[in-house]
């Protein structure tokens, strides 16, 4: 009896350990695969070409700057939409809405998060982009801005859901203490509840932004796919092409092992490093604020 119990215990802890380590193993394997397929680029394409502003692989122009700027501008636009709207919605749900409203809104927002991005892209092509073209009098509605709007929409449920959990976890005593000092509802939210939930809200933002950077399908469908370097803010209203869309669109037609193939992997590597940087920054900030919070509560 005792023997089997300890065996069971041993097996289960082992199994859990293996699943835990496997996550790390997969990430490392993916990273090495990207390195193996992407790094030859540095030998095959001179750096001056790689960091030039022309992407035209058929004639040997492999400038990834337009793609980088495309990803950046679309993501930035999406973040500017998703962060205020997402946090605003989270505050409304957690702090202001009556209980019945909260019980409707929270699942609804989470449902929105499960919408396949192809569907959103479809809506973008059929509804949003003709609308924007007419509204803003643009030559085409397939622009970085269109992509930003849709990506913002995709990121909002992520931001709302995580930020709302964080706000909800702030102890009631904080709110009561602030209110008892004569703070208004809004002053309590802005100066006590939100700062107390800071690390969770920050995680929400980072995950939302991460979702936006990595999103492929929607942006490929609605941003117009023109690899042009964004040099002015006006670029927001012209077609762009992101790194993810480039990989998705071109990977199918390159010959394995060709220069073009290696460059696409190199772009993947760059994407990987960017999202790694976002995540590391986020957890560093969260870690720092958490140690501070622990000091406060001790």
């Amino acid at each position: 009896m005792n023997e089997t119990l300890s065996w069971k215990e041993y097996l289960i802890t082992r199994a859990i350990k293996v699943t835990g380590y496997s996550a790390i193993v997969f990430v490392v394997l993916i990273f090495f695969f990207l390195l193996r397929e992407g790094l030859p680029t540095l030998a095959e394409v001179p750096l001056s070409t790689l960091f030039s502003i022309r992407w035209y692989p058929i004639e040997g122009y492999y400038g990834i700057l337009p793609l980088l700027s495309g990803s950046l501008i679309v993501t930035l636009g999406a973040a500017l939409i998703a962060i205020p709207f997402g946090i605003g919605t989270a505050i409304y749900i957690a702090e202001i809405a009556p209980r019945w409203m909260r019980e409707i809104l929270k699942p609804l927002v989470e449902l929105l998060g499960g919408l396949p991005s192809v569907v959103l892209g479809f809506l973008g092509i059929l509804v949003l982009s003709p609308f924007l073209r007419r509204l803003l009098d643009l030559p085409t509605g397939l622009t970085a801005f269109t992509g930003s709007l849709l990506l913002g929409g995709i990121a909002i449920p992520t931001v709302v859901s995580i930020a709302e959990d964080a706000l909800d976890a702030v102890p009631r005593s904080y709110r009561e203490a602030a209110l008892a000092l004569g703070a208004t509802h809004w002053q309590t939210i802005w100066r006590v509840t939100l700062p107390a939930a800071r690390s969770g809200v920050l995680t929400a933002v980072m995950l939302g932004v991460g979702r936006a950077i990595g999103e492929t399908m929607t942006v490929m469908m609605v941003t117009g796919n023109a690899p042009v370097l964004a040099t002015s803010p006006g670029a927001l209203f012209s077609p762009v092409r992101t790194m993810t869309a480039t990989i998705a669109a071109e990977m199918g037609e390159v010959a394995g092992g060709s220069v073009h193939y290696h460059v696409l992997f190199f772009i993947g590597l760059v994407l990987f490093l960017i999202s790694l940087a976002v995540n590391v920054t986020a957890s560093a900030i969260v870690f720092r604020t958490r140690t501070r919070a622990e000091r406060i509560l001790s």
Binding site: P171, S173, E176, L179, A180, G182, A183, T184, R292, R295
Partner: protein
């Protein structure tokens, strides 16, 4: 139940009845006159409605799920349960200290000036003056005067609770409500808080929910005994703890139940 006629009470509670939606702790027809410049203690076993009553006096109970609330609470003759009451102004006039010290994630100075800044005070000299005055009143000045810009979280539990008291005092309220302010403190810190309260009652109206009968007996000028939502007995402190009129009060004070 004995309610003594009292000339000019600071707070007059009339026929206050309160029920929560979930049917827990409630108050039944409470009548109570709370005098200025004294410590009035609300005591009794848990679930008797003491905290609820306290939270009605600064309308913090608005946050709770209240089913019915009737009766009046007159503060200087004005009914604060009136929906037209300016709750923000009321809460600046009626400060509250909670059972668990809740220091805001700011410096010591920041915690003290927080309420004043919310009220719109920006002048540095006024803020500094309020910091020193309130810390002295809460008997904390000597311990922290050289490190006002340290994080408040670095203070010990007893110091944090006195900081919370000072934070309330900085707003220069007229009434101070304390809900088991020393329940988590060691005897020395408790003694300091109680001594500070004795000093403060000269200028403020103090309503205290103590964490033990002993504390009630030590601090009360007036004491009200609550049992299951009813006010059983209300009398000057010396009387109620030495010669209670009601059998239930006597049993509780003697430690026969509770």
């Amino acid at each position: 139940m004995v309610t003594r006629p009292m000339p000019d009470p600071k707070i007059l509670i009339e026929h206050l009845t309160l029920h929560y939606s979930d049917g827990t702790e409630s108050l039944n027809d409470i009548n109570l006159a709370i005098p200025a410049n004294a410590i009035t203690v609300l005591f009794g076993p848990a679930g008797g409605g003491k905290s609820s009553l306290l939270r009605c006096i600064n309308r913090l109970n608005d946050l709770a799920d209240v089913k019915t609330l009737s009766g009046r609470i007159l503060l200087d003759g004005e009914n604060i349960l009136d929906p037209k009451t300016d709750i923000i102004a009321l809460r600046r006039k009626v400060g509250m200290v909670f059972a668990r010290p809740v220091v805001l994630p700011l410096t010591i100075r920041g915690n003290l000036t927080y309420g004043l800044e919310l009220a719109g005070e920006r002048r540095r000299s006024r803020l500094d003056e309020a910091v020193e005055r309130s810390l002295k009143q809460a008997a904390l000045w000597d311990e922290v005067k050289d490190r006002l810009d340290d994080p408040a979280s670095a203070l010990s539990g007893g110091q944090q609770q006195r900081l919370c008291l000072a934070r309330v005092l900085a707003l220069q309220p007229e009434v101070i409500l304390l809900d088991e302010p020393t329940s988590g403190l060691d005897p020395i810190s408790t003694g300091k808080v109680e001594a500070a309260l004795q000093e403060l009652k000269k200028n403020y109206t103090i309503v205290l929910v103590p964490h033990s009968v002993q504390q009630a007996a030590r601090t009360a000028d007036y004491a009200a005994f609550f049992l299951q939502g009813k006010l059983i007995e209300y009398a000057p402190g010396q009387e109620i703890f030495t010669n209670p009129k009601d059998k239930r009060t006597e049993d509780y004070v003697m430690g026969r139940f509770g």
